[in-house]
């Protein structure tokens, strides 16, 4: 059992791959031995439900389409946001309802770790089999540094 589970959610559709890219960079930056597990997945995060339920802290990284500027970074605490039905509504993730519905199922079943955060970046183009845009790539680097600081440099509540 890892203390922290980081799930990078994505596909190979342009900026939709940002979750995978961020995960790769975090893995390289953090390295082994930090009780942090890195898992690349698609929208079917319930495939990882056992890993999720056995972790003390969950970090999800995904493209989030929220009518913002491409490259904008978002952070949501999943328990408070989803329970309150406030900021996260409907299918903000580029994967539609899949990820959030899956998270809601995990909350209902008591399987979501108390500390569960969704980090996201507003995507630009998401054409099949295309590269991630340079604009979003810059945000990925900032996001990686922010998550690194929160998990490794200055960990809080863990």
């Amino acid at each position: 059992m890892s203390r922290v589970l980081i799930l990078g959610i994505g596909s190979d559709h342009g900026d939709d791959s940002l979750g995978w890219e961020a995960l790769r960079r975090l893995r390289k930056k953090i390295g082994n031995g930090q009780e942090i597990e890195f898992v690349e997945c698609d929208a079917s995060i319930l495939n990882c439900n056992e890993k999720i339920s056995q972790s003390a802290k969950l970090v999800l990284i995904d493209a989030i389409a929220n009518n913002g500027e491409a490259g904008e970074i978002y952070r949501f605490d999943l328990h408070s946001e989803l329970s309150a039905h406030t900021r996260i509504k409907g299918s903000m993730s580029s994967h539609g309802l899949n990820v959030l519905d899956s998270v809601r199922v995990l909350i209902v079943l008591g399987l979501l770790p108390k500390e569960s955060t969704l980090w996201g970046i507003e995507p630009g183009p998401m054409e099949p089999n295309t590269e991630i845009s340079s604009r979003v790539l810059k945000s990925v680097e900032r996001l990686v540094q922010t998550i690194f600081d929160e998990l490794v440099v200055n960990p809080v509540n863990s």
């Binding site: 079917s44 495939n47 809601r104 995507p123």
Partner: protein, 431 residues
């Protein structure tokens, strides 16, 4: 004449499973058009595969679908091994079935518990259903997890697995790893039996449409990786004769092809498999089905819910049988001698028959690829089912009711994860 136009759309998705939309045109009491459009990503991959070495194909095609990567790998490796005259060992053959069992279990468990059951039990979403049926959903997630772990055993990981190769596997699990998983199979079998018994208590809607089911059929086992293509109306052909009987057509309203068999829409998937291969189903599955006195009918798409549960139990039982005396072999792959030619195979993906065709040159490079996935084969059938179901329900019904019925029909086919998990966004224009 009163005319109202209903446009029902799935939100735009950025997932490989694609996007879908449904447009209904109702004039008076007549349903003039029911157009289902599904974006089919395999078309992109076919071009993407050209110029690639055959050894890259299993890993590349595994990326086509996040839910059934094993199926794509298996159709590819069997096609290529057929061309290269590769004789695989009994161990490879058996472990490929275990690998496939894992995928059937995880895919079917996901569909039953998170996509189909909320519809049958009258909930708007899976989370709502989970509040009232937490034990059933937790049981479903346990079953799904075991399926994933079976895939991971041979694929290295359950998402985008990498263990399958042309000629065998890149490695083999240890006896200890197999034993750990084997010890969980009894619980999975018991829970799968409970699941099937529970679903058989549901009152499924009556439907008896006239269309054939198509699947692989094998002489002495439930079909996964081998067999001939058979149908409930008498077809019995080798898989390399597929193109003589099945034709894909482009339709103006969809970026996807629709596949027809001799000009007819048809059904592929677990229901067709169960009906066409009932003699090879596990004994416990047959006993439970007999006790419930349900006769599976390929013309009733609601029976696919039961068929999926039957296949979960069958697959868990078969995996246990195949792993009972597991021994790690000295070699996990056969030597490959490439040759130029056409490679064809079909295997049974969770959603139905998955047909692959590759043209390979003397260097082992892919010159051309063609992939016919289950979703494109079922697409015409879904449209016909929608016409039948909505007309039977009554086109005068409120739009919300029509939308829910349409969603339920589409989800029932499990066309792809992204389509099946999204609520249709109903837009109404009245004239």
């Amino acid at each position: 004449m009163n005319k109202r136009e209903l446009e029902i759309k799935v939100p735009v998705l950025a997932r490989v499973e694609g996007e879908g939309s449904l447009e209904l045109l109702i004039e008076g009491e007549e349903l003039r058009e029911a157009k289902l459009s599904i974006f089919e990503p395999p078309r992109l991959f076919e071009k993407f595969l050209e110029g690639r070495h055959y050894t890259e194909v299993p890993d590349l095609v595994a990326r086509i679908c996040g839910i059934c990567p094993v199926a794509y790998q298996m159709s590819a490796v069997h096609a290529l091994e057929g061309l290269f005259d590769t004789r695989i060992s009994e161990w490879i053959r058996a472990m490929r079935r275990v690998y496939y069992c894992g995928e059937w279990i995880e895919s079917h468990a996901l569909h039953i518990h998170l996509l189909a059951l909320p519809d049958f039990l009258g909930y708007q979403s899976a989370p709502e259903m989970a509040k009232d049926h937490p034990l059933a959903v937790k049981r479903g997630l346990r079953i799904q997890a075991l399926g994933n772990d079976l895939i991971k055993l041979f694929g290295g990981r359950s998402v985008n697995p990498v263990g399958a190769e042309v000629g065998g596997f890149s490695g083999a699990p240890t006896k200890k790893e197999v034993n750990t998983l084997y010890s969980r199979l009894d619980q999975c079998i018991d829970e799968s039996a409970e699941l099937l018994e529970w679903l058989l208590t549901f009152s499924l809607p009556e439907s008896n449409q006239d269309f054939p089911g198509v699947s692989l059929r094998h002489e002495y086992e439930y079909p996964m990786n081998e067999g001939r293509l058979a149908s409930s109306d008498g077809l019995n052909i080798p898989v390399d004769a597929f193109e003589n009987h099945f034709v894909e057509r482009q339709v103006p309203h969809s970026t996807a092809f629709q596949c027809y068999r001799d000009d007819k829409a048809y059904l592929v998937g677990p229901l067709a498999r169960c009906v066409l291969n009932s003699q090879h189903l596990n004994k416990q599955v047959k006993t439970i089905l007999d006790a419930a006195k349900l006769k599976l009918n390929v013309g009733n798409s609601y029976h696919s819910l039961i068929a999926r549960a039957m296949e979960i139990l069958h697959a868990a039982s078969e995996a246990k049988d195949l792993l009972r005396n597991y021994v790690k072999p000295n070699t996990t792959r056969e030597k490959i001698i490439t040759k130029a030619g056409v490679a064809i195979a079909a295997t049974e993906a969770p959603r139905g028959t998955l047909w692959h065709r590759y043209e390979i040159d003397a260097d082992g490079l892919v010159c051309k690829a063609r992939i016919v996935p289950p979703t494109s084969q079922n697409q015409a059938r879904i449209e016909a089912d929608l016409r039948h179901a909505l007309t039977t329900l009554g086109l005068y019904r409120p739009e919300e009711e029509l939308r829910f019925q349409a969603e339920q029909i589409i989800r029932n086919y499990d066309p792809c994860i992204s389509c099946a998990t999204h609520f249709l966004d109903l837009r109404v224009n009245r004239q």
